[in-house]
């Protein structure tokens, strides 16, 4: 509390100085510090550090965003989750004001998040209600989807449906790959999509929104199909690349002709020239590959709650959404495409609706899924 008081005194002093017309350097007035925790891949890190944060700090000179914790590939997610829950139980500060991680929904479900309101964050009115409902108290701020990447010099007509894709994999042994589900979302998406083939829409919906152990028994058939692909995937021996980047490196050096990739990572790779220009992407249907929003959470009882909400509100503004779409990440927006700049609107097919992306399971089902995959599929 004392610190807050000090901060407000400083802010008032800063305001007074500004109104007196002194040409005070803006960098000295950075008094609201938002501590951001990000768990993701390097492309996400780059977007935060070189694009979003500098733009936000420029537009809001008295704010300062500190990314003290960046957790590559979310390897420490379980520990961070423990830290936040422990801090909340002891009524202490968790050390983060805004969190981007796969476990944000889980935190929301357990009641550890500040519920977003349009009075504090008017821009959430532009976010589709279904995405907000799915976020369980978190705030979606960008989206991406997994797509099927293919070498157009080898594959002239890419598979249209999931069944076509599986037939192609079997007809072309060793030319398709997906990474270990626990290592990255692009491989996870393929595995979940195959498993979802044998589930009804209602069952999938349950696994996306609630912790449900009994329903997990229905995964068996899908895992059997995935296991049967072992002799046909890259390496032909039931081994899989360890993460998204490893999949992309097999794509770039021509070791495979088809793989599942994140839309944003693929587009960035094409732009940077690490992926040859004759590689193209397509979506399959009849269980499309999953995608979905990246969700931010503001923990309850954080020290800088108001500043954090202001930061998140800015992220949902057209300015920030244009950076997400047009910058190095090549992400999907969470606001209607029509709110973007004309150049960025052109990147999306007419009628693209991020709220229609098929989502991945809720994090504890998701963890069980990765565990089951490792048990059932590789090396068999």
């Amino acid at each position: 509390m004392r610190k807050n008081k000090l901060v407000s005194i400083l802010a008032v002093a800063g305001l007074a100085v500004a109104t007196l017309g002194f040409t005070a350097s803006t960098s000295h007035a950075a008094v609201f510090q938002v501590r951001l925790y990000v768990s993701g891949d390097t492309n996400v890190e780059r977007m935060w550090l070189t694009e979003l944060i500098p733009a936000f700090e420029k537009a809001n000179p008295n704010y300062n965003v500190d990314v003290s914790s960046f957790d590559l590939h979310g390897k420490n997610d379980a520990l961070t989750l423990a830290k936040i829950i422990a801090a909340s139980k002891l009524k202490r500060d968790a050390g983060f004001d805004v969190i981007e991680a796969g476990f944000v929904q889980e935190l929301g479900l357990k009641g550890y998040l500040t519920i977003p309101t349009s009075s504090r964050m008017p821009n959430i009115n532009n976010v589709p209600a279904s995405l907000l409902a799915m976020s369980k108290g978190g705030i979606p701020y960008r989206a991406s989807t997994v797509l099927l990447a293919y070498n157009s010099q080898v594959v002239t007509t890419p598979p249209k449906t999931l069944d076509d894709l599986i037939a192609w994999i079997k007809a072309n042994p060793g030319r398709f790959t997906y990474n270990v589900p626990s290592g990255g979302g692009s491989g996870y998406s393929f595995a979940q999509t195959v498993v979802d083939k044998y589930l009804t829409d209602a069952e999938i919906e349950k696994l996306v929104t609630e912790v449900n152990k009994p329903l997990q028994a229905k995964w068996k058939q899908g895992f059997d199909l995935l296991k049967s692909l072992n002799p046909y995937t890259y390496g032909k021996n039931g081994t899989y690349p360890s993460n998204n980047a490893a999949t992309l490196s097999l794509v770039s050096n021509g070791s495979v002709d088809m793989a599942t990739v994140w839309s944003d990572q693929f587009l960035s790779g094409l732009k940077a020239g690490t992926i040859p220009s004759y590689w193209k992407v397509a979506q399959v249907s009849d269980r499309s590959l999953t995608g979905g929003p990246a969700i931010l959470g503001i923990p309850k009882g954080t020290r800088q709650g108001v500043a954090a909400q202001r930061f998140v509100n800015w992220l949902l503004s057209p300015v920030a959404q244009n950076i997400i779409v047009g910058g190095t990440l090549n992400g999907y927006p969470v606001v209607p495409v029509s709110m973007l700049s004309t150049a960025n609107q052109g990147k999306f097919a007419v009628g693209t609706d991020v709220s229609k992306l098929r989502s991945s399971y809720l994090s504890s089902n998701n963890t069980d899924f990765k565990n089951q995959w490792a048990l059932e599929v590789p090396g068999k």
Partner: protein, 286 residues
């Protein structure tokens, strides 16, 4: 006088180990409470004194047998090769000297100065599907199988990482064998093999055993090399423990595995203690 170190060790090492052990046998309350709220499939003792259910879960897991096998094979084979190489280099340097032995020693020490992550990645690209190793064979029209994602790659990587320490240890041990003893054996007409077998190796036994224990314990608990170079499944315990702890969110089972590895490492450490004890006895300290 020994109190401060004991206090530090007790607080920072003993206490967490004790806490983890209690967690593994079902004490889910107190300081373990948060971990047990978050973790999946956590087995509590439910009013009983303790439970071994988590241990049973781990052993019943179909992955366990494969992981044990992989970990033991890799640790054993890599340790044998490391000892063969480093003893060979040490003997060459002691008995012949010259340029070749200097080059070999320098090469075997190189991995010491290269971070494990970098060397694992380098080995991965070298032996990978489009790496130099396959490309060379391919240019002669031979299609050799890919080594990465196999146990062989993990063994090669483990040898690379462990060689420097063992070489330093064993080379210095062999260097300290007095010339007089070797010459006396030569004068008595002993062959080279006999000199090595009956004079040099016994005198360097303690450094060799220390190298053996450190190498095998190091490989037993290694993570980076099997993570980069090994198959997804079965894998070594270092990787499996990390998987269970973070990506599968099963902290209790990962702690159980850690205790199993700890028990195995303690078995090896016995040799180390024995060697030290013998050393102390010889120099009259015990």
């Amino acid at each position: 006088m020994a109190l401060p170190p004991i206090l530090v060790l007790g607080t920072f090492i003993g206490f967490p180990i004790g806490l983890a052990f209690l967690f593994s046998i079902g004490f889910t309350g107190g300081l373990n409470e948060v971990l047990s709220i978050i973790g999946q499939d956590v087995r509590g003792r439910d009013g009983k004194l303790f439970t071994l259910q988590a241990y049973k879960d781990v052993i019943a897991d179909p992955r366990f047998a494969g992981d044990v096998k992989t970990t033991l094979i890799v640790s054993f084979v890599a340790t044998v090769f490391v000892l063969l190489f480093s003893t060979g280099i040490g003997l060459l340097q002691r008995l012949r000297g010259g340029k070749l032995s200097s080059v070999l020693t320098a090469l075997s020490l190189t991995p010491l100065f290269i971070p494990v992550v970098i060397s694992s990645w380098a080995l991965y690209t070298f032996y990978g599907s489009a790496g130099l190793y396959r490309t060379i064979f391919h240019s002669f029209g031979i299609d050799v199988p890919q080594i990465t994602s196999t146990m062989l790659a993990v063994i090669i990587g483990s040898i690379w990482v462990s060689l420097p320490f063992a070489t330093l240890m064993i080379t210095s041990g062999l260097q300290s064998v007095p010339n007089a003893l070797i010459e006396a054996a030569q004068d008595a007409g002993a062959s080279l093999i006999t000199i090595i077998r009956t004079v040099m190796l016994p005198l360097a036994l303690i450094p060799i055993i220390i190298a053996l224990t450190f190498t095998s314990i190091g490989i037993l608990g290694s993570f980076t090399v099997p993570f980069f170079l090994g198959a997804n499944q079965p894998t070594m315990f270092g990787v499996e423990i990390t998987n269970f702890f973070s990506v599968y969110n099963r902290p209790q089972q990962s702690i159980v595995m850690a205790f199993i590895v700890f028990a195995a490492a303690s078995g090896i450490a016995f040799f180390y203690i024995w060697a030290n004890f013998r050393n102390a006895k010889e120099s009259g300290r015990v």
